[in-house]
């Protein structure tokens, strides 16, 4: 059934359909609508889950870790400073191999105080062992949430579903909400591989001295490396039931493209608008939207970009002293290719600043004039 739904509520609906059993969260703009709706579902009985109110995001994740260790489906949502506060426990969740699912609404970190869209918060957590999936539309958010549970439970790794602050979290779009029966078919009840067992008491997550620790970290990496294969299976099963598919990356007009824009999130929509104009002028341009950032889908990206002349990466983030984070990943993706394209790095749209069609024209023009990319990322849309 299609409903006009706020992006945040696409998350809430998905959590309800996934029959999460424990939800623990602490409110923070722009994430609050997600758990606000979920707390109402818990209160009105439409979701049979325990909503644990906590005093901080650190405790929210700790609650999810406890509940997931007990073997139930869990959910939390956060943003910006809240996610940063969770950092320690993000490592714990993946190290303990718990299939926790989180919705992460991309928001800038202060100071200066800023509640708007920015990718710095989620990308700061790239090394915590969480799978990261970036979304562009309300429908993709809902679908990805459902896929996230199945994926997490398959590979025993936590998943962060990421959506842009306001541009997606607070925007209303028609969203097809699947019926419960179909969702139950896609996502049967959780059968945990790790759970506390009163009959056979065990302690989990305790000390692992040098003789053991390294193998456990290797195990996480092995599991991460298997994610793409399992994600493909999950998407196939999902498509079979619901008829929709996204892929770890979404190329648009890339087959014959000489220049390909790369980005994640909602700015991909604006970019597609821009390249239609450019194509009308005869430029061979395409767009590659990244959905999966961890694990990084190197092979998919390489295959898509290998024949392009220029790759134009848009980062709504900055790793200070190094530049755009997506651009760095792209460079390491392509370095192994014999005939790799030039990779141009642009930073724009930080702290909620709009990215317009003209900004993409500006980036494209820059790459046409330049002989080769600068060492540093180029900032687009600065006020000076």
């Amino acid at each position: 059934m299609k409903e006009v739904l706020e992006g945040s509520h696409a998350v809430s609906e998905a959590v309800r359909l996934a029959r999460a059993k424990v939800i623990s969260a602490y409110p923070i703009t722009p994430q609050t609508h997600i758990v606000e709706a979920l707390s109402e579902y818990c209160a009105d009985g439409s979701l049979d889950a325990r909503f644990i109110c906590v005093e901080s995001e650190h405790s929210a994740m700790a609650s999810c870790i406890g509940a997931a260790s007990a073997g139930v489906r869990t959910f939390t949502a956060s943003s910006s400073h809240g996610l940063a506060l969770m950092h320690e426990l993000l490592h714990w969740a993946s190290g303990a191999r718990l299939p926790i699912v989180m919705a992460e609404v991309n928001r800038a970190l202060g100071p200066g105080w800023n509640i708007w869209m920015d990718q710095s918060d989620s990308l700061s957590q790239r090394d915590t062992g969480w799978i990261q999936l970036y979304c562009e539309t309300g429908q993709e958010v809902l679908d990805t949430m459902l896929q996230a549970y199945r994926l997490a439970e398959t590979v025993n790794l936590p998943v962060m579903v990421v959506l842009d602050a306001f541009f997606l979290s607070h925007t209303y779009e028609p969203v097809d909400i699947p019926d419960q029966q179909s969702v139950d078919q896609f996502l049967p009840s959780f059968e945990p591989r790790i759970s506390l067992d009163q009959q056979h008491p065990n302690a989990i997550g305790q000390m692992a001295p040098p003789a053991y620790y390294m193998e456990m970290r290797h195990s996480i990496q092995m599991a991460m490396q298997s994610v793409l294969e399992h994600f493909t299976d999950v998407e196939t099963a999902f498509e079979h039931i619901f008829g929709r598919k996204y892929g770890p990356i979404t190329p648009f007009a890339c087959d014959d493209a000489e220049s390909i824009f790369v980005m994640a999130g909602t700015s991909a929509s604006t970019c597609r608008q821009a390249i239609k104009t450019m194509r009308d002028k005869g430029h061979k341009v395409g767009v590659l939207k990244l959905k999966m950032f961890r694990p990084f889908p190197y092979q998919y990206v390489r295959k898509c970009l290998v024949n392009a002349k220029n790759v134009i990466v848009l980062d709504r983030n900055c790793s200070f002293g190094a530049g755009g984070i997506f651009a760095q990943e792209l460079r390491s993706s392509m370095y192994a290719s014999n005939n790799h394209p030039q990779i141009f790095s642009f930073i724009s749209g930080l702290g909620g600043r709009d990215i317009t069609v003209d900004h993409f024209f500006e980036m494209f023009d820059y790459t046409k004039k330049a002989q080769h990319p600068e060492n540093e990322s180029v900032w687009i849309g600065l006020n000076h």
Partner: protein, 573 residues
């Protein structure tokens, strides 16, 4: 540390985590400890404020669980007359209640009253008095103090003879308190608690000093005859004033003279209020005349409020200086008063405000400025004095002055406390010696006193407590107590009958109100300590809560979490 690794490979996903199936019993975290928690019950501020030292926190705990027999038993350990005290006590417990700092004090007197009523209606809960101990005491006066002496003495095995000048027991309960505050049937029912072969009432026996010689065969005598002589106004025409205390007794016995029209009631104590409210119910228009301001009135504030709510006029800062009688009326000349210096005790004195005078014309004047003891009981030489009783020996016979003869505050509750204190003192004298009195009484002290606990004296459960420690509000973990307003009392608005004004709480109100109690300083088995113990070192089996010292690491979380300060940390010995 024991180490085992779990490897599972469903669908070929690598899964390796640290896991141990060894239990933690081998990890004796108790060796880390340098402080240890201890269950240590303390005194609630309400108990400390109660002249009788009732274990109120525990009473409320039982009441909230609908365990009325235990609630009653707990009260009766310290107070023989809960149905009466629940009505007439000025409840200093509620002024001390820690809950007032969160929202409102617990309505302790309503609960005591309900439990008292329950006791009156469930006679199987009567006291099982012990065997006689061979000693017999004589008690002069069957008012609250005398009844209290008889009750506690009988509980210690004494035979008691009570000499009462009238033909009924109860004293001021019957003659000094109006029925709208304390109905006859409550007095009758509650005094049945004293029905026992070991307590003999000898009515119509007026005992004076000269009769004491004939009572020398008793092992002790207790003078509980109260203040029987009205204080005179010492103004011209005072003989035309009616004695208020006597009038209250007459009204109760339906023997009062016809009093109509405007009546000046002189005085600011509880008797003045009782007289005024009684006269109102008889159809008169009372006017309370008091020489100081309302703030200085010795009557209890809620009684003053009730009188004013009922429409009684108060002329404050007026002192009567003469009563003149003419054919139909009495003219009362009043001197306007103004604040003077404060006394050493901090009480505001009042002095005449120049020559400002007024005269009020009334039909009757009632003097209700209090009473004093009969001069024959006057004595200056004591063997010892305590807060609520004094003792001297006549040859070898100990004679105790009790109740209004000695207490600073003349209330039913203080009179009952006096009886208890005197009986404990006598028992110590008989079983130990004079010098032990202070030591033993100190051990029986509730909080910082002066109330003594009969439970502690009888080596009951309260001996296990740190009785001198009073729980301050800061020690209450208010995270466990959401704001809940107190249950409101209902009143009978009828002003032309002597029906009880304040209506009994029903059971649901009692449970709701008793559940508001923090139960300061006592363990009510809330189980919070056990739930929070990170080492699972707190065990609760067979109603016995204890700490496994092999595992308690002394973190103190149980103490921090305990909602009611029933635990404390002590340095490891």
């Amino acid at each position: 540390m024991n180490q085992s690794i779990q490897t599972q490979s469903p669908n070929n996903v690598s899964l390796l985590i640290s896991q141990s199936r060894t239990n933690t019993l081998g990890n004796k975290t108790g060796t880390w400890r340098f402080v240890r928690p201890k269950y240590q019950e303390k005194t609630a501020p309400c108990s400390n404020a109660c002249p009788l030292g009732i274990d109120i926190a525990k009473v409320e705990m039982y009441a909230s669980r609908k365990d009325y027999p235990k609630a009653l038993e707990t009260i009766l350990m310290e107070n023989p007359l809960p149905a009466i005290c629940g009505r007439v006590c000025f409840h200093p417990c509620e002024s001390a209640c820690n809950r007032q700092f969160l929202d409102q004090s617990v309505g302790i007197h309503h609960i005591e009253r309900y439990i008292g009523n329950w006791g009156c209606n469930n006679k199987q809960s009567q006291i099982n008095y012990p065997e006689f101990n061979g000693a017999q005491i004589g008690i002069i006066g069957a008012g609250p103090a005398g009844l209290s002496v008889a009750y506690f003495a009988r509980r210690l095995g004494y035979r008691c003879d009570i000499f009462e000048k009238s033909n009924m027991s109860g004293g001021l309960l019957r003659s000094g308190i109006p029925a709208y505050r304390l109905p006859d049937h409550i007095i009758k029912d509650e005094l049945e608690r004293l029905n026992d072969d070991g307590i003999q009432f000898k009515y119509n026996q007026s005992i004076s000093m000269i009769h004491l010689e004939s009572l020398k065969n008793y092992h002790a005598l207790f003078l509980c005859c109260g203040d029987t002589c009205p204080i005179s106004l010492k103004i011209p025409g005072e003989n035309d004033a009616i004695d208020g205390l006597n009038l209250l007794g007459q009204i109760r016995n339906h023997e009062a003279p016809l009093i109509e029209g405007r009546v000046a009631v002189i005085g600011g104590g509880n008797t003045a209020i009782d007289v005024a409210r009684s006269l109102l119910r008889l159809g008169a228009q009372p006017i309370i005349v008091y020489r100081r301001s309302r703030n200085e009135m010795p009557a209890h504030p809620h009684e003053i409020d009730a009188a004013l709510d009922e429409g009684i006029e108060l002329r404050e800062c007026f002192s009567p200086i003469a009563i003149e009688k003419d054919k139909n009326y009495k003219q009362v000349s009043l001197q306007k008063m103004k604040p003077g210096e404060k006394s050493n005790a901090g009480r505001q004195s009042y002095i005449p405000d120049g020559n400002r005078r007024e005269t009020i014309q009334v039909n009757h004047v009632v003097s209700a400025i209090g009473a004093e003891m009969d001069i024959m009981w006057h004595n200056d030489q004591w063997e010892f004095t305590m807060s609520h009783c004094k003792m001297k020996r006549n040859k070898d016979l100990p004679i105790f002055w009790c109740g209004d003869l000695t207490t600073s505050e003349k209330t039913v509750t203080h009179a009952l406390a006096s009886g208890k204190q005197a009986v404990i003192a006598l028992d110590i004298l008989r079983n130990h010696n004079d010098v032990d009195i202070n030591t033993i009484c100190h051990q029986c002290q509730v909080g910082n006193g002066p109330a003594l606990s009969f439970d502690i004296y009888s080596q009951g459960q309260r001996t296990q407590r740190d009785n001198n420690k009073i729980v301050p509000f800061e020690q209450i973990n208010t995270a466990y107590f959401p704001n809940i307003p107190a249950v409101q009392e209902n009143r009978n608005a009828c002003l032309n009958s002597f029906d009880e004004v304040i209506i009994d709480f029903d059971e649901s109100q009692v449970i709701e109100e008793a559940s508001r109690c923090f139960n300061c300083g006592i363990c009510n088995d809330c189980d919070t300590c056990r739930i929070f113990c990170p080492e699972m070192a707190i065990q609760w089996d067979q109603d016995n809560r204890h700490i496994l010292m092999d595992y308690c690491k002394g973190c103190g979380i149980c103490i921090a979490e305990c909602p009611r300060d029933a635990m404390h940390l002590e340095v490891e010995p």
